[in-house]
């Protein structure tokens, strides 16, 4: 595993006069679980969107599995703050539609993914009426639907109760163990203690430090 799965070389992302990313450099390796921490406005979400190919860097390059983010889209699973699901459709209908985008036709795969995030495939209620926690799980299900090698998750545990957050962390750990690369932006760093292989700290659009685990007396402003 010598070649990095994701290579980010001095990426700058400008929105008009504001620079969200200010020269980010990173090499991320396959089969690793990376936790991205930092205050609001540190550029975590922008970096995630850049990795997913949704935001083109103003300067600098990003290569994912040796390809550009756009061409590597089959291997990327992306989850964002908004649910990226249609509120009027039920969870299964949403997944069935998104599966079609990836060329997956069988329903069994959708049902299996829904069960793996701890939800009931037969639930007919539209996603709009889901609780926030359920909606995040269904959004995670959509992100892992096509079994991507790389998972880019933006605060998957926010407003999820502690019990189900623990389950989701277990699920992500299992995925990391099965060889996937995870890139998780979160404010609940404590949840990933002992799970994440590396913690990447971002501040003001740059990566300021990378630690193997959280410092023992960690009560920094980041964790809630």
């Amino acid at each position: 595993m010598s070649i990095p799965a994701i290579t980010v070389t001095n990426v700058i992302k400008q929105f008009g006069r504001f620079a969200a990313l200010r020269g980010v450099n990173a090499e991320l390796y396959g089969g690793k679980f990376y936790a991205i921490l930092g205050d609001n406005g540190a550029g975590k979400t922008t970096l995630l969107r850049a990795l997913a190919g949704l935001a083109h860097p103003t300067q600098g390059t990003i290569s994912i599995l040796g390809m550009t983010p756009q061409t590597a889209c089959c291997e990327i699973g992306y989850m964002a703050h908004p649910s990226l699901l249609y509120d009027e459709m039920s969870g299964m209908e949403n997944l069935r539609y998104f599966a079609r985008l990836y060329g997956i036709a069988d329903d069994e795969r959708c049902a299996q993914v829904v069960r793996s995030v701890g939800l009931d495939p037969e639930l007919a209620r539209p996603v709009g009426q889901y609780s926030q926690g359920m909606r995040q799980r269904m959004s995670l299900a959509r992100a892992i639907l096509h079994d991507p090698k790389i998972l880019l998750l933006d605060e998957p545990f926010s407003n999820v109760d502690v019990h189900s957050a623990g389950e989701m962390v277990g699920l992500l750990r299992a995925m990391r163990d099965s060889g996937k690369t995870l890139f998780v932006v979160t404010h609940q760093a404590a949840l990933l203690q002992g799970v994440a292989d590396e913690f990447i700290w971002m501040q003001a659009g740059q990566i300021v430090s990378r630690t193997l685990d959280l410092p023992a007396d960690f009560t920094g402003p980041v964790a809630r």
Binding site: R17, R22, Y29, T58, W201, A204, R210, L212, G220
Partner: protein, 299 residues
């Protein structure tokens, strides 16, 4: 380079004065319209200049879009050449309605590949977009003049302010509307995406022009109405004055474009400086108590 601007400015001033003299004094008085027809020496050159500027905007936009994606870069070169050649041939083969001389169409279409490669060479990458903004804005200024002088001319001669039947004037109006919406789009979207969106709209606008011309032309044959400047051929002396006037206008347009171009470059530098300032600003701010830097990403 710096000294060239004032010299050119003087030359342009002289040319403009000479053209004014030609238009008002030297050119013969028109038989039917008397002296008021001399508006043509400002009305028509402004229109030609505006069309030239919009044409440059179209080619710059197409080139900018084509160069954006490496896959389309080569293909676009061949398409440009093909369009030029095929268009030139077609102009003479297909019977052209609307009294358009095939030579006019042929030169316009042949200009596409010529400009395509010229602009690509002298305005690489980002500069193409700066050129597109410049030509669009200055083009709209000249187009406004055409739309103002047109009615001023129609009023005394035909007693009507607006001649909807006049293909050229109505087409110019539609062209003006398209490029004003182009400028509005540029103002309303933030800088990162504007360039691609505006380039796409410029292509749409240009594709629209022939359709506008022919739809109004056919509309006019069904409902004939007065045409400004008459369709007939012009007295050669008048034509010479028209050419002099157009040359002066082209010099003037070049000057205005040059300064607007430099203005746009300066605006983008200031924009860049702001961003850089926020970049450097980040280092000086107090860093939060993030843990000590540890080993680089472990293998």
């Amino acid at each position: 380079m710096k000294r060239a601007f004032p010299i050119l400015a003087i030359v342009t001033a002289v040319l403009l004065a000479y053209a004014l003299y030609q238009a008002l004094v030297v050119a013969p008085t028109d038989a039917q319209q008397g002296d008021v027809y001399r508006i043509i020496y400002y009305h028509v050159p402004s229109a030609w200049t505006a069309f030239l500027l919009f044409f440059i905007n179209f080619i710059a936009s197409v080139r900018y879009l084509a160069d954006g994606k490496p896959s389309t870069r080569q293909a676009a070169k061949w398409i440009a050449v093909a369009v030029g050649v095929a268009g030139a041939v077609a102009a003479f083969v297909i019977p052209l309605p609307g009294g358009i001389r095939p030579s006019a169409i042929a030169t316009t279409v042949l200009a596409i590949p010529v400009f395509y490669f010229l602009l690509g060479k002298y305005f690489p990458g980002e500069k193409l977009d700066v050129l597109a903004v410049t030509t669009a804005e200055v083009g709209v200024v000249f187009c406004t003049i055409v739309l103002v002088t047109g009615p001023i001319w129609a009023r005394p001669v035909w007693g009507i302010w607006w001649a909807p039947g006049d293909i050229r004037l109505t087409s110019t109006l539609v062209l003006w509307l398209i490029y004003v919406s182009y400028l509005i789009l540029r103002r309303f979207s933030d800088s990162a995406q504007t360039q691609k969106l505006a380039a796409a709209l410029a292509v749409f606008g240009a594709l629209d022009v022939p359709l506008v011309y022919f739809s109004i032309w056919f509309f006019r044959t069904q409902h004939p109405q007065p045409v400004i400047g008459g369709g007939g051929s012009m007295d050669p002396k008048m034509l010479d004055v028209l050419m002099i006037s157009w040359t002066a206008f082209l010099f003037f347009a070049f000057l205005v474009c040059w300064s607007r171009y430099r203005l746009e470059i300066l605006r983008r530098e200031v924009e860049q400086a702001h961003a850089m300032q926020s970049l450097s600003g980040a280092d000086s701010s107090v860093s939060i108590s993030s843990p000590a830097v540890s080993t680089r990403g472990s293998q």
